[in-house]
């Protein structure tokens, strides 16, 4: 229920020629831009001088086939990611790459950049199981969500753990020892989804906070 002491019905606005949207706060604008495909986000740079650099500090970067160029190759998609990251300034909360990235050195460079910008939610897709997932993902200490598709994942013995990781989704080649070690270093893990290419004899999981577990693979 709302009652207004002095009834005022119509919602009058100032003269319609004024552009206020360009002056919305940065954090408000970020909320809007993260809901757009990356292509539309970048296209806002041409609107006016005020808009030119608004896109470069967007917190979530999602590159999927729908929002990139239709019919473009994976090399061209990777070029787009390179372009966006080259101009990006400020923290990046979420980075999703849903197309198979052909070059491991590209992924490595992106992940190193993301690890320095506080990445929390990371989704990476490599081109093939034969490609190694760059070990730079283990630098991303603030991760809460990690999803890896394809590629071979090796866990360095010096790995100190993802102390904030809540969700882990792996669809990779990884040894049973490596996976047991990785999970044992993620004390807060709540959701675990594994689709494993290798044959396992035994899988040991130590995850005291686990609430959801899905496994697809062969023993």
């Amino acid at each position: 229920m709302v009652t207004m002491k002095k009834k005022k019905q119509a919602c009058q606005s100032a003269p319609g020629s004024v552009d206020l949207i360009s002056d919305l706060f940065e954090d408000v604008l970020n909320l809007i831009l993260v809901r757009l495909p990356i292509r539309d986000v970048v296209r806002t740079s041409i609107l006016s001088k005020k808009w030119r650099d608004k896109w470069i500090s967007i917190s979530d970067l999602v590159f999927d086939n729908d929002c990139l160029m239709e019919g473009a190759s994976e090399m061209e998609h990777a070029h787009v990611v390179n372009q966006v990251l080259k101009h990006h300034v400020g923290p990046i909360c979420k980075f999703s790459c849903m197309f198979g990235v052909p070059s491991c050195s590209d992924i490595d460079r992106w992940v190193v950049f993301l690890s320095r910008n506080g990445i929390k939610k990371l989704t990476l897709t490599t081109k093939a199981y034969a490609n190694d997932v760059p070990s730079s993902i283990f630098y991303c200490q603030e991760l809460t969500h990690l999803e890896l598709f394809y590629g071979t994942l090796k866990v360095p013995s010096t790995f100190k753990g993802f102390h904030n990781l809540l969700l882990l989704n792996l669809c990779v080649k990884i040894s049973e020892d490596a996976i047991a070690f990785l999970i044992s270093k993620c004390p807060l893990l709540e959701r675990l989804k594994l689709k494993i290419e290798d044959f396992y004899q035994c899988l040991n999981i130590h995850a005291p906070n686990l609430r959801y577990f899905e496994f697809s693979g062969q023993f």
């Binding site: 009652t3 207004m4 606005s13 949207i21 706060f25």
Partner: protein
């Protein structure tokens, strides 16, 4: 007026907009705003809560949408309807949209932040820069050279 504000069943909160209008709002609606919630926790609830950054017409819109949002819970049709209203508002009155967005941000109302952000995102999606400028009254202040440079910098997005 203040006597109703202490009733237990349906507590009424009294708020005053920046232009001096007084609103009586059900507590459940008012508490959608994290700003008002914090003010109440600080024990300002027995007095009139001032909102120096929200005008009456905009606050009226905020309350309306808070109620609509509460009603639409789990109703997909209503959700769709509410989401589609942004296009109309942005086309007819982008000025009010900006004021509403800023008020919702100031009042810290999560559900309406999501809704109004989605409105503008839906509105911008797929439209040409020329049309966006025209509808939102954005003045193109680039020189042709500057415009060409921006197009060149991210050619992939404009092809």
């Amino acid at each position: 007026m203040a006597s109703t504000s202490n009733s237990t069943s349906s507590k009424i909160i009294t708020l005053r907009s920046s232009d001096g209008e007084v609103f009586e709002v059900e507590e459940s609606v008012a508490l959608e705003s994290n700003l008002i919630r914090r003010m109440m926790e600080d024990d300002c609830a027995n007095n009139i809560i001032p909102l120096p950054n929200v005008t009456a017409p905009i606050f009226y819109l905020v309350i309306e949408h808070c109620k609509k949002h509460a009603e639409m819970k789990d109703n997909k049709e209503k959700k769709k309807e509410l989401r589609s209203q942004g296009e109309e508002l942005l086309k007819s009155d982008p000025h009010t949209y900006s004021n509403l967005m800023e008020a919702v941000n100031y009042l810290d109302i999560k559900s309406l932040m999501d809704l109004t952000a989605q409105w503008l995102a839906d509105f911008l999606k797929g439209k040409s820069p020329r049309l966006i400028r025209e509808l939102l009254k954005i003045k193109n202040d680039f020189t042709p050279e500057e415009e060409a440079e921006i197009l060149e910098r991210n050619r992939w997005a404009f092809d």
